[in-house]
């Protein structure tokens, strides 16, 4: 059967297949378990797509019943004092 067609072919044909799927965007994951505690960093995920980053954060950091979880793109973090 040949019923689904593709109307546009993106650039990327020249890159190796696995390299085309390499993710480059890092997201810092912050969460908290109680309203009286502040958000704290619990890790990071790598995903170019924001929606996929949400899915990954929820599935990887599922050890607690968080009341809040947010993602911050690492690229948007401004360093004030470098370590």
């Amino acid at each position: 059967m040949n019923t689904i067609t593709t109307s546009t072919e993106n650039a990327g044909q020249q890159r190796p297949r696995r390299e085309q799927l390499n993710e480059t965007r890092v997201w810092q994951v912050f969460a908290r378990r109680k309203y009286e505690e502040p958000l704290h960093e619990i890790g990071n995920v790598v995903a170019d797509d924001e929606e996929l980053a949400k899915v990954y954060a929820r599935s990887i950091y599922d050890e607690f019943s968080w009341i809040e979880m947010v993602l911050v793109p690492r690229a948007s973090i401004v360093t004030v004092i470098a370590s």
Partner: protein, 252 residues
């Protein structure tokens, strides 16, 4: 002495069998990719989705024992002893690649969720309760499927071609799962208020979910959009000659 009061409803028994078998088969196919996904994050997500799908199957199989139809062959109500497999033919084989995972996630699992959405206010309490819980978990599955459709489509080249091939392989069989519009099974569920839609209406709802995402990445599917009704319709007849109404799957 305990007595079990069983309900006589062949249509509901058939659909619950199909739902359970499809969820079970999806979970088993997903499981293979828990350490084979393109990235560590995707592998963890695959593991979580595997647990969810197998969990959905395990909440559905016990319902079969509530029906008169289970008495004919009691071994068919346990996944461990069941010899009938009413999952889609597409799931008979291992996934050939990650794109088969994504296509199943995006098309078939979304079709099943469309059914559960139609059962949110079901007159059959056990299905209504399970539908609401399943829909909560499926929100994440939808985000995963949609995200990967966009990602693979935008990768271009062989990756995009493989995705289109996987979607093509599953497209018609997924649409057929709802049955022809005069399908006595789905029609009975509709008439009894177990679901709130006919097979054609379920297909419309499903297409309204998946087609915009596919269109957004330039993947054309055989549907037409009716501007007056704001509905997507099949551009060509579905291959009902390949569809087995008992198994709700393609025979070839």
């Amino acid at each position: 002495m305990t007595t079990t009061t069983r309900t006589d409803n062949a249509a509901l028994f058939a659909i619950l069998s199909s739902l359970a078998d499809n969820k079970q088969a999806i979970g088993r196919r997903y499981a293979y990719w828990c350490n084979g996904a393109p990235a560590l994050e995707a592998a963890v997500a695959a593991a979580a989705m595997t647990q969810d799908e197998l969990g959905h199957a395990r909440t559905l199989y016990p319902l079969l024992d509530h029906f008169t139809q289970a008495e004919a062959d009691p071994q068919q109500i346990e996944p461990e002893t069941r010899t009938l497999h009413y999952h889609l033919r597409f799931l008979d084989q291992d996934f050939a690649g990650w794109t088969d995972f994504v296509a199943t996630n995006f098309l078939l699992d979304t079709a099943l969720t469309t059914f559960f959405e139609a059962a949110q206010n079901s007159t059959y309490d056990p299905l209504r309760q399970r539908a609401r819980k399943i829909m909560q978990e499926e929100q994440i599955h939808w985000m995963h499927g949609e995200g990967w459709i966009k990602r693979l489509a935008r990768a271009g080249g062989a990756v995009r071609a493989a995705l289109v091939q996987s979607l093509t392989s599953l497209w018609a069989e997924t649409l057929c799962w709802f049955g022809p519009n005069d399908d006595p099974v789905m029609q009975r569920l509709y008439q009894e208020g177990i679901i709130d839609a006919t097979p054609d209406e379920l297909r419309h709802r499903f297409l309204a979910k998946v087609v915009p995402t596919l269109n957004s990445v330039g993947i054309d599917v055989p549907v037409t959009f009716n501007a007056a009704t704001k509905r997507y319709n099949q551009a060509q007849p579905l291959p009902w000659n390949r569809w087995d109404a008992t198994g709700r799957r393609f025979t070839a």
